[in-house]
């Protein structure tokens, strides 16, 4: 028995050291993909296309930043897709009635943060498994958004600042990309260089030890849920700006894309292991694949098949490499 725990501890230790190289592999995959696609279709490297890819990455990256924190604490949130749609509708409705971007944004953040708070309270106070709790919230939000509005909430006042949120540029860079980069940097610094960040890792790795050393593990998890919710709020507003309407049907399957990107980036579902940089690479790989499929003129339904294969394969490679290193 003691021998067993010894080897598993060793595995974890070596796994920790390998984080860097796991991202190296992902980086290599990304490079190979880019080279292969650009050989087959030179327009891949056009400025317009690169900006299009980045813009598509932005939404996923914003939510994935929060989700990475959450999964590092060993919890998960499946309600982000349903929440994304609801937030867009609410933000747009408030925007229409108040003609103020600030108030619309505030409503969106308050709602999405509220969803995160609710999820967090259910998981930390009522001790409901987060997979189940957020499936429950997902159902409530999916039903709730149709009770709120049966059709898309159209943009009635065409505020320039709101349109810019999704479609605007600063120089050559789209606004959503800048927002995503800001959120990513803040989250990265928090996770990497602050005590709070280290605590989040600690909660995911060994919650009991964290509690015994005097930290409130529940509060840390609650925080991660709320942050994820707020990220959804930002993403929801950008999405409704891009579509120029709040769509109750938006965000179908979005939660799976986000989680896939986070897992692909090497963050362990068991908690305590992972990095935001990996998540960034994960998002890029998935979106470059999506883009490649379109540019090469392949059937767009492959956009579901290929990521499925990539997630399984990447996780498998990670396991094999860990095993090889233990030997």
């Amino acid at each position: 028995m003691s021998e067993l725990t010894h080897t598993s501890a060793q595995k974890r230790f070596i796994g920790g050291q390998l984080l860097g190289s796991s991202q190296l592999v992902l980086g290599a995959i990304l490079a190979v993909l880019c080279i292969a696609i650009s050989i087959a279709a030179p327009q891949f490297y056009s400025e317009a296309n690169i900006i299009a890819i980045l813009r598509q990455c932005a939404l996923v990256l914003i939510v994935a930043s929060g989700m990475t924190m959450l999964i590092i604490t060993a919890e998960v949130d499946l309600s982000v897709g349903a929440s994304l749609a609801f937030v867009g509708c609410i933000g747009m409705a408030v925007l229409n009635s108040t003609h103020s971007l600030a108030l619309g944004m505030l409503a969106a953040l308050a709602f999405a943060g509220g969803v995160g708070l609710f999820n967090g309270l259910v998981v930390t106070r009522l001790r409901v498994n987060s997979l189940i709790a957020t499936i429950g919230t997902m159902m409530m939000l999916q039903g709730g958004v149709y009770l709120f509005t049966r059709e898309a909430v159209q943009n009635h006042n065409q505020l320039v600042s709101f349109t810019d949120l999704g479609a605007g540029y600063v120089g050559a860079v789209p606004v959503p990309v800048i927002i995503a980069a800001l959120i990513f940097v803040v989250a990265y610094v928090t996770l990497r260089f602050t005590t709070l960040g280290r605590y989040l890792y600690a909660v995911g790795a060994n919650e009991k030890a964290v509690r015994l050393s005097g930290l409130r593990s529940e509060r840390l998890k609650l925080l991660a849920f709320i942050v994820t919710g707020l990220c959804v709020g930002v993403a929801g507003m950008i999405l409704s700006s891009l579509m120029n309407a709040g769509q109750p049907t938006a965000g179908r399957g979005f939660e799976l894309t986000v989680i896939a990107a986070v897992i692909l980036g090497g963050t362990s579902l068991l908690g305590g292991r992972g990095s935001l940089f990996g998540t960034l690479l994960g998002v890029l790989v998935l979106k470059v694949i999506d883009n490649g499929i379109i540019i090469l003129g392949w059937n767009q339904d492959l956009q579901m098949v290929v990521p499925g294969i990539v997630i399984i394969l990447a996780t498998y490679l990670d396991i094999i490499r860990n095993k090889a290193n233990v030997r």
Binding site: G143, D301, M304, G308, I309, I312
Partner: protein, 331 residues
């Protein structure tokens, strides 16, 4: 936690059995309350016709739920079953259209289901990949594959075999839908296996404590492997019933089905942590949700409300269950 588990292991089995019985008793009381409430408020709710109709509708989730519960009890998850429903409908309908034989169509579907189960099970049990990731991946792959193959169009059942249509319309003694009969027979068979056959007990042992099960000489990998095959085959049966009901292979068949089944299974007291729960509990969970949605529709509530209420009930039920368990563990 380890203290609590050794304490419950030392307790006489009769206590354990009574504990399980109480869990199912509570669910039964819930089901009766739901039935009583809607019998009073909704006209024709408590009619033979409506009861058997709901049973027929519940047969899909009941059948797939058996597999879902077994995989949960073994300590893993399978969320690929929704996409599987759409996938296996393709060989079923195509083979039937070509050969006019239900037997060949069903065999083709089961073969597909078997292959999917083998792939899922191999990746989880032998390659050692987290089951949530594996089945998330195969869920994407299968749904995408169905879209690719069909070009997002339904493939109609041109053969229209009487035996196939009977799967959705036919009733045993003109009362119970055949689909419900299939579900009940499967439920009884697998319930017997889980409670009284060595393999069923092995699944509980593996889910309860993998390390102990391994040291006791069980082949943990093989047990998990077989659980995924069982799950895929049962989902295939559900997929065949669904295809019969809609009379075609629909590319969107079973969207979100996995979440409904997972919700019902957890409501039935089957723990995601493994080793805890029973098929009876799962069946009661499915029936509660199905009668609830039927009754709410009877009250004239829009379907959206059903989603909202179902979501709330799932969270409340699991929270209640968790609170009870913590108290039982002497917290």
């Amino acid at each position: 936690m380890s203290l609590a588990s050794t304490a419950s292991a030392k307790a006489p089995p009769s206590l354990l059995a009574r504990l399980f019985a109480r869990q199912e008793l509570a669910l039964l009381v819930c089901l009766i309350l739901v039935l009583a409430f809607f019998s009073v408020t909704v006209e024709n709710f408590f009619s033979v016709r409506n009861m058997t109709n709901v049973l027929g509708q519940a047969s899909l989730a009941l059948t797939a739920g058996i597999g879902c519960a077994i995989v949960f009890i073994s300590g893993e998850v399978d969320i690929s079953i929704g996409s599987l429903l759409a996938t296996i409908a393709l060989p079923l309908i195509i083979i039937m259209n070509d050969t006019n034989s239900l037997l060949l169509g069903v065999s083709g579907a089961l073969l597909f289901g078997l292959i999917i189960g083998v792939v899922n099970g191999y990746l989880v049990a032998y390659a050692g990949i987290n089951s949530l990731i594996v089945t998330l991946g195969t869920m994407f792959i299968m749904r995408g594959g169905v879209y690719l193959y069909t070009g997002q169009r339904a493939i109609p059942d041109d053969a229209s075999l009487d035996s196939f249509i009977a799967l959705s319309d036919g009733r045993l003694f003109n009362i119970i839908p055949y689909s419900a009969v299939i579900a009940i027979v499967l439920l009884a068979a697998f319930g017997y296996m889980m409670q009284h056959r060595p393999f069923g007990r092995q699944i509980y042992a593996v889910g309860g404590n993998q390390e102990v099960a391994r040291l006791a000489g069980y082949d943990v990998r093989r047990v998990k492997f077989v659980c995924f095959i069982i799950s895929a085959l049962l989902a295939t049966v559900a997929g065949i019933i669904l295809a019969a009901r809609v009379g075609s292979a629909q590319h969107t068949a079973g969207l979100n089905f996995e979440f409904q089944v997972v919700a019902a299974t957890v409501l039935g007291g089957v723990s995601l942590a493994g080793g805890i729960g029973s098929l009876t509990g799962m069946a009661l969970g499915v029936l509660i949700l199905q009668f609830l949605s039927n009754g709410l529709r009877g009250l004239g509530l829009p379907t959206e409300w059903q989603l909202v209420i179902t979501g709330m009930i799932i969270i409340a039920a699991v929270a209640f269950d968790e609170a009870k368990r913590r108290r039982a563990n002497g917290g």
